[in-house]
Symmetry: C2
Subunit: 426 residues, 2 copies
């Protein structure tokens, strides 16, 4: 199915038809009650486990193709499914069952002087398109989150994982049918054509929201082409500022954790700013610790003078999301300079201040313009599960609709229901 | 200033500089307390009143040019300022003083098992671009709403009102300076070049949100070109469904109000659907009433058979936002057909069911996918003031971030503040 190419005209028609089917499925999903949605999630989980071997067979094709096409071993690792990973996906679906239904919540209510009663209630968004790369588990996460929030979803995974994604989506479709739910609730665009994404991104009549998940290039393409609202899950250029009044040991533990515990993720720290008053004492011991952990150090002139083994950072370094055991360190004269630096070079994702001075902490948290701002904690906690959301579709670096980790509550909209007895406007 | 053309390169640099200045001003605005913002609103209002004559002089230029360029009398009316209209603008600013500050509200708070305290607080969005047509009062409304919500704003009005907008923005700038606030909090793009909008819409590094207000063509252009999140204030194709169990007199009063009280606005009704069971009785008397009020009737075949003076409606009619004394009426077999029609042809703005049957009302309100759904009331109430918001920047027909009337609370984002004592992730 995925290997023959469709003409652009055919693609347009076919994707429009998918859009229409998604809208119809979405109308059904919006009316399901919590029990019905949870039953479907359980059936989905069971179906994944039942179909393990066919999923693994499909995945092996992707892995073989990936190796043939020279994908890096990191990429192959992301791509490769195992029995364990499939069980994890199934359990992820089961965890959604226990979470509160985000639909149908009364968000506010009031009675106006003319007697009109206004109720604001949460409703599904409608149809969500999710455009993502490599990891096939996104297929299942997205399907589960969208189902529980009552949204239809159109998935477009990376071409490298296409056989896995088709197998996974087929499982989901079978589960929907068996649970009595429109199987178009979850649809996959199974053609490799890049055109398909461009076409989808113009279909605002069917799709209400686009969530891209992947590298910078993918996000930029989606933002540039989409006429549909996009919530960006952009890069995480996270900073830690070490203030002058600080417990050195605690600060070093936090920085080491934020950099080394899992350097390849968006909430790991990339840059450390050190207050000038403690730099002479703190910078060398921090450097020693990080070097021991295998971290490559880059720094501004002052830092490099203190730590000669560090490489001089370029202007570009301060914008960089290394996603690797690399860190850039800068000595700043005061908290104002730290805030200025973060607001200028950061990505409005997660930043932290390490200080025993509450006033400094409040100032930093107020003035840094980021989704998540920590006082005396590692940036690594920016995550839907760590926030207690129980799930996560991504981390928004936008300020519209959702900011920071996005769970089920961020996947709904609302509408106003107004009860009258013949009111007219005068 | 507005009459010479800048080269595209010059425009790009100049608009980028405006963007940078807006970001800097926005940082200051975000830190202002409620008293400081309210003082500035009072100074703005007083400045408008003080500068009445210079504003009227500038407006006269626009009116003269408009007449010379053959603008319709409706357009000239919208464009023309009077002493009364300027007082109204000033009073609009003063009304904002009494409204609750949307910034700094604690939206939720929790303590995680690891001891991290997570506080979600409302913050300004940052920089908002507002792109609008003809009515110069939008300049002042937008400036006031953005100031109170702590956002910097870049305004781009229609070229037909450029002298008025420059005069009004100058007033606002003087007021900011006199209140000790960065005058770049409110900036106007004063060049007529259409290029300017295209350039602005790509400046996501400075602008966080775009709100277009105007006709369909303007909205489409903005949506197509913008790489910045847009909240659309699209057309209002509002429907009223008259169910079979209904008080005829009350229903007629509501329909007449929704159509005739102010036909040129987005929340007026354009289409009426009548349940077949009462059509024979209700359609002719409704038709008589509407004809008396000067309304042009269009209808489907069944309706036209009942009311021979009605014009046959085309397929296109059901999508139409007439903004005029025209209405299309259709006879539907049941509530399902009404819901289907509205979800297909409506614009997800405001729709109403007139019925004495609570079950029908609940079904309609649940299944119609619109921002505002009424039971036994006129669609004309979809409005920030009628909702008790105390102000309105527009009515969103999107489902992302804000849906329906947008007041101050819809002009903020949030951030997470997380308080720890050295927590690291394991």
């Amino acid at each position: 199915m995925s290997d023959y190419k469709l003409s652009v005209e055919n693609l347009k028609t076919t994707i429009a038809e998918m859009g229409e089917r998604a809208v119809i499925a979405g109308r059904q999903l919006a009316l399901l009650n919590t029990v019905e949605k949870n039953q479907c999630l359980e059936v989905m989980a069971a179906m994944l486990e039942k179909e393990k071997s066919s999923i693994l067979t499909a995945n092996q094709k992707d892995v073989d193709n990936g190796i043939k096409n020279g994908l890096s071993s990191v990429m192959i690792d992301r791509l490769r499914l195992t029995e364990k990973k499939i069980s994890d996906m199934a359990n992820g679906l089961r965890q959604l069952i226990g979470l509160e239904d985000p639909v149908g919540q009364v968000l506010s209510t009031c009675i106006r002087p003319n007697g009109l009663e206004i109720k604001k209630v949460s409703v599904p968004i409608g149809t969500i398109a999710i455009i993502y790369e490599s990891r096939p588990n996104v297929t299942i996460d997205a399907a589960g989150l969208c189902l529980k929030s009552g949204n239809a979803v159109i998935l477009r995974g990376g071409s490298e994982s296409i056989h896995s994604n088709i197998a996974l989506t087929q499982c989901i479709s079978m589960a929907c049918v068996s649970a009595g739910i429109d199987s178009n609730a979850v649809q996959l665009i199974p053609w490799k054509d890049r055109e398909a994404v461009s076409i989808l991104l113009k279909m605002g009549q069917y799709v209400d929201l686009v969530i891209p998940r992947g590298g910078e290039q993918l996000i930029r393409k989606v933002v540039e082409e989409s006429t549909i609202p996009v919530i960006k899950h952009y890069k995480g250029v996270c900073n830690i500022f070490v203030d002058k009044n600080v417990n050195f040991d605690a600060a070093m533990k936090v920085i080491e954790n934020a950099k080394c515990q899992r350097p390849g993720v968006c909430n790991s720290v990339e840059h450390v700013l050190i207050h000038n008053d403690i730099a002479d004492d703190f910078a060398p011991i921090l450097a020693k610790k990080l070097i021991e952990k295998g971290v490559e150090l880059r720094g501004d002139k002052i830092f490099c003078d203190m730590v000669p083994s560090a490489k001089q950072a370029t202007e570009q370094d301060w914008y960089e999301e290394y996603l690797d055991l690399i860190i850039s360190i800068k000595i700043v004269p005061d908290i104002e300079a730290a805030i200025y630096h973060i607001n200028r070079y950061g990505s409005k994702h997660s930043d932290s201040i390490l200080t025993s001075d509450k006033m400094s902490a409040e100032k930093f948290m107020k003035e840094v313009d980021s989704a998540v701002i920590y006082h005396n904690a590692s940036t690594r906690f920016t995550d839907g599960f760590e926030f207690g959301m129980g799930a996560e579709i991504g981390i928004s670096t936008d300020k519209i609709h959702a900011r920071g980790p996005m769970g089920l509550k961020e996947l709904v909209s609302y509408k106003y229901l107004i009860y009258g007895n013949g009111q007219i406007r005068t």
